[in-house]
């Protein structure tokens, strides 16, 4: 399942990434495989989304969230 499919309040564990280049940036920001992510909220217009990961809040666009494969 992809992170972009979660609704606010839902959690999952990062398994892998489908885009290598994007994964470099995401990992530097603390989105590592094994890390738990929780979708906090959507922006007023539904995109981007704010997630809680590695002890802080990160926001990213839905298409970026869709490269993160999670275990729900």
């Amino acid at each position: 399942m992809r992170l972009s499919e979660l609704k606010p309040g839902e959690k999952g564990t990062i398994v892998e990434f489908t885009d290598l280049e994007m994964s470099v940036k995401l990992m530097e920001m603390g989105c590592l495989p094994g890390e738990i992510v929780e979708v906090e909220r959507f922006a007023p217009l539904g995109d981007p989304i704010a997630i809680r990961v590695a002890g802080y809040q990160l926001c990213l666009r839905k298409n970026e969230a869709s490269v993160i494969i999670i275990q729900y």
Binding site: M22, M27, R41, A43, P44, G55, Q57, L60, R61
Partner: protein, 704 residues
């Protein structure tokens, strides 16, 4: 050890790095440029415990040494190149104690480069409150470096940090972290051999991004490329492996060092605020309300200090005319220099207030939410949520904002942001607007609390923002994208803005304005005064002869009005007047006369010159009674029709012209520097001027 040491501050964004910088250096700082690039280099000086002088450089905030934007690249360039003039003797790594693991990623990279490092754990008081306890001694022992707990916000631990800096050794003491050689063993060894360096990680970094280091020769760069090719060096894959192994290492280091007893608590307040501030309905409404409050405040709070400054300069000019000997020099000093100076100083209250708000909004974390809320809309128009900050920054000045667009990773988003940023009304237009609005819009209150003039001002800003978005939308289809755009950004928790930082920003921006823009404005004022006071000698002589002849026939009571007519005629025949007359046919359909024409010409150097030009022209033009520019402009009459020059139609048309036209040499220069070609600044200059002309034409023809 050297008497003078260089310190670099490195760390993630939002860690209080700049607050620490302000604390360390006080007002003893300056903004410079890194050689060859336009990233602002903030340097300050401080005295250490052992009375050595230290030069402190505040490097841009970054999450890793692999830059995501142009701005962040400077961190790698300064740290990896020993010949860089800012290459530090010791790095102070500022880390947010409330989120240590992510903050230490860049520490491990800096440490692996072999530079002496001191770790400054910032916000330790905040961390404690949130139930995060960091064992500083254990951490220091495990990393092999000095670790100092500080709180830049409450001014705690600064002395300890200065002590640590004076104890810093010239040789790095940190223990080895994760093994970097395994990531690309053959290639790393070959680079070490080629460049005669002995640091594995430096060699690895060079493999990744040697093209940004200009210390190597063309042959060396080619050699590195060859090594990469023959080893099959996959940059992205190796970077992910590096990040994973670093986080694994940090996991071991931090076990037993950080005790977390309910860190979730720190989000409760931010979450509650976010539920309202980024709410579907309230989010945008609050944003608009905040914008309105900002503009209303700029108008109402600045009026008192501005009146004060205005009357101070009037008094100064009066006293000057009274006590200084009459002559050309006195006139040049009072009507050229002092008038120009007055036109500069009068902006200070508005600029200071605007920057105070921008700095409060950024510092509190609200600006990040605005970016978050606006991204989807902005993307529709070919921009990114990250364009919001440069656009809002352009409310102050397009020059630093165009530079700040470097934070936008995608080339297309960045170019479009740069192209439309100067359309957003900057602070240099503010005096033009305020002057013209105060001339034609009555000072009335609507519903008892909304200032009608403030409302008009906000309208001008809205028009400029709509225009910027509209142009961006068109450019979205005209410009081809080079790569994907990203929007991966931290949303910092809400914090009280640090008031000292706000004050520093106000002081720094006002100072920059007075010294940078001020030079241009005063120079233009003097040139103008000369142009307005002198003309072709034959024409001036003809006027003198004509009035001498009339004077001889009239009695003394009429001489004073004659004198006024004579100087008016002289102005019209001066070089400035002639220039104004030349362009008058082109600007007449917009409702402008030749005097406004002169202001338009000088404003192509800088918009700020408008008010100064008006001041100069009208003080040359009017009778001896010294009055404010506003009153002089209000009483200005068209010499043919006898009607006021500044009607609602003319003023509005003029405001639109200033809103859209590219009248700023500094912006043209910065766009050239940032895009590395004349193509973009030329396109920008042309489209903006055409747009300004058409908008003014339509407005004047409809309203007159």
């Amino acid at each position: 050890m050297a008497k003078h040491i260089k310190i670099a501050l490195v760390g993630n964004p939002n860690t209080g790095k700049s607050t620490l910088f302000n604390l360390l250096t006080g007002l003893n700082q300056k903004i410079g440029n890194f050689p060859g690039i336009t990233v602002d280099k903030k340097i300050g000086y401080c005295t250490l415990a052992d009375s050595r002088q230290a030069e402190v450089v505040d490097l841009p905030g970054t999450y890793s040494l692999y830059p995501k934007s142009k701005d962040e690249r400077i961190v790698f360039q300064v740290l990896a190149d020993p010949k860089n003039p800012s290459h530090p003797d010791v790095v102070v790594l500022v880390a947010d104690a409330t989120n240590l693991r992510r903050n230490l990623l860049v520490y491990t990279q800096v440490a692996d480069l072999g530079l002496p490092v001191i770790l400054a754990l910032n916000m330790t008081d905040m961390a404690k409150k949130e139930g995060i306890d960091v064992d500083v001694n254990k951490l220091s022992e495990r990393l092999g470096i000095q670790v100092v707990a500080i709180s830049a916000r409450s001014n705690f631990g600064l002395a300890a940090l200065k002590d640590a800096l004076s104890n810093a050794t010239a040789i790095a003491t940190q223990v080895h972290g994760a093994d970097m050689n395994v990531l690309a063993p053959g290639a790393i060894d070959q680079v070490k051999h080629l460049l005669k360096i002995d640091n594995d990680y430096l060699a690895l970094q060079i493999l990744h991004q040697h093209e940004f280091l200009d210390v190597y020769t063309v042959e060396e760069h080619a050699g590195i490329e060859q090594i990469k090719a023959s080893a099959g060096f996959e940059s992205s894959r190796i970077q992910t492996e590096e990040t994973i192994s670093r986080y694994r290492y940090l996991g071991t280091v931090l076990t037993g060092v950080v005790k977390d007893t309910g860190a979730e608590r720190k989000f409760i307040f931010s979450d509650k605020l976010d539920a309202v501030l980024t709410n579907k309905f309230w989010g945008f409404l609050i944003f608009i309300a905040i914008l309105f409050f900002v503009f209303n405040s700029i108008f109402s709070w600045s009026s008192y200090p501005m009146d004060l400054i205005e009357s101070a300069f009037v008094t100064l000019t009066e006293l000057g005319h009274k006590y200084l000997p009459n002559g050309i020099l006195t006139n040049l000093l009072l009507d050229g220099v002092v008038a120009g100076l007055g036109g500069v100083v009068i902006f200070i209250p508005q600029i200071a207030i605007l920057f105070a708000f921008i700095s409060i909004l950024e510092d509190s974390g609200y600006m990040a939410r605005v970016t978050f809320m606006m991204d989807k809309i902005m993307r529709k128009f070919g921009l990114s949520g990250k364009s919001v900050v440069p656009m809002i920054g352009s409310l102050a000045c397009a020059v630093p904002s165009i530079m700040s667009a470097r934070n936008i990773e995608s080339w297309k988003d960045r170019i479009i942001t740069i192209m439309v940023a100067p359309l957003v009304s900057c602070s240099a237009r503010l005096p033009v607007y305020t002057l013209l609005i105060s001339l034609v819009v009555p000072e009335k209150m609507v519903w008892g609390f909304i200032n009608l003039q403030g409302l008009t001002l906000m309208g001008m800003y809205l028009i400029s923002i709509v225009a910027a978005v509209f142009v961006a939308f068109i450019m979205k289809f005209l410009i081809k994208a080079k790569e994907k755009s990203y929007f991966i950004m931290e949303l910092p928790v809400y914090r009280m803005p640090r008031w000292t930082n706000v004050l520093y920003t106000m002081y720094e921006k006002s100072k920059t304005f007075v010294f940078e823009a001020g030079k241009v404005i005063i120079a233009i004022s003097i040139i103008l005064w000369v142009l307005a006071s002198y003309g072709p000698p034959s024409r001036f002589k003809a006027i003198d002869d004509k009035y001498a002849a009339i004077e001889a026939q009239k009695d003394s009571t009429q001489i004073s009005t004659l004198e006024r007519d004579r100087s008016a005629e002289k102005l019209e025949n001066s070089y400035a007047g002639i220039l104004g007359h030349v362009i008058e046919p082109a600007i007449k359909p917009l409702g402008f006369d030749w005097k406004i024409g002169i202001a338009l010409i000088t404003s192509f150097a800088a918009r700020e010159a408008f008010v100064g030009t008006m001041a100069t022209i009208y003080s040359v033009d009017s009778d001896e009674e010294v009055a404010t520019i506003r009153n002089k402009m209000r009483s200005a009459r068209n010499s043919e029709t006898g009607l006021p020059v500044f009607t609602f139609a003319t003023a509005f048309s003029l405001m639109l012209f200033y809103a859209f036209a590219m009248q700023c040499m500094s912006t043209v220069a910065i766009v050239y520097r940032e895009t590395k070609s004349w193509k973009w600044p030329v396109i920008q200059l042309v489209y903006m001027t055409v747009m300004a002309y058409i908008a003014s034409l339509i407005a004047y023809q409809l309203l007159k």
